[in-house]
Symmetry: C2
């Protein structure tokens, strides 16, 4: 399938929107702000997109689908649960360093989705969390993990890496390799030295 010029322009608008939404929030970004960033008049953008909400949906569901397909990949791999979980955390971190603005918006601005989209998005998240919880549960039963509450482990892992999307920049002097290794060390080995 060939991408039409119109589609490319559309994707550019959505990408710029992600940056602004991350920076100033969805509610704090006006279509005029976005138009200026894109280099069009506000009205002209409506030739490429249907509404502001549609932009937010594009960003949120693109990221959600990426998360889900990454998890599916991990589930189907033949590794120990510990290796699976580590691999997934690496994928999450990697996504944040490559699609920072989009991930940030999907994680922080999804509340602004319109009613229908909001319901679907929440459902996707919930399914994702359940599948990940099952993975942690299985690993604990296999004796690979500490005996801690599954929900606590689930959310602590997911939450622990959330700062990356806000903080990491290519010029900050930390290579993604070192970043991933340091985080994995803390989460799986513990910060305390024995």
């Amino acid at each position: 399938m060939i991408k039409k010029k119109k589609d490319i322009r559309r994707e550019f608008i959505i990408g710029e929107a992600a940056k602004l939404f991350k920076q100033k929030g969805y509610g704090g970004t006006s279509m005029r702000d976005l138009a200026e960033q894109v280099g069009l008049d506000a009205a002209s953008m409506y030739h490429y997109i249907k509404s502001k909400d549609e932009i937010l949906q594009g960003i949120c569901f693109d990221i959600a689908n990426t998360y889900v397909s990454q998890l599916t990949e991990i589930e189907n791999a033949t590794q120990s649960y510990s290796q699976k979980l580590k691999a997934l955390v690496r994928l999450h971190i990697h996504l944040m360093t490559t699609k920072g603005p989009e991930v940030s918006v999907a994680n922080n601005e999804w509340k602004s989705l319109s009613a229908d989209a909001l319901t679907e998005f929440k459902s996707l998240r919930s399914q994702y969390e359940k599948r990940l919880a099952a993975l942690i549960e299985a690993g604990a039963e296999a004796g690979e993990f500490q005996q801690v509450n599954t929900s606590v482990a689930l959310f602590t892992l997911l939450s622990a890496i959330r700062w990356v999307e806000l903080w990491w920049k290519p010029d900050r002097g930390i290579a993604t390799e070192e970043l991933e290794n340091s985080i994995l060390t803390i989460l799986f080995q513990g910060l305390e030295r024995k």
Copy 2:
């Protein structure tokens, strides 16, 4: 100092605002929404508060000051660095379970502060992070912590507990004691069983 009736009413309004701001975001909450929640007409609230921004400031700086004073306490205590850090994490978690909406707003809606307040808030956060980083640095030099990048450790710790403010409810079947212990186990001992 005796609290006047007006002050009590004012604090009630700010408390209800925190709940709504957490739920729908600062931008997504109108003064009319808040008035309905409080049981007043929108105009009547202006007898107790000066502006919407003033409410947000009240919430954000109250929490910021609590964070700072807790850190000061920890710094002055005579404990190992490891014990200090664990105690601080416990204090953070405890604050989230007791002042969930306020902490949530301070952590997620501070971007909406007016220019002056925003500058001051950022400065407070930055000072706090520097002092906490120094504590981690010292612990690492004392050989108590793993050799990981200090910034990574700092943000991973702070971030790892952020979900509590969104998720924890008294009726969810996890006592705060168990919650704290599970999180501390993961962060300091590691999720992986040796």
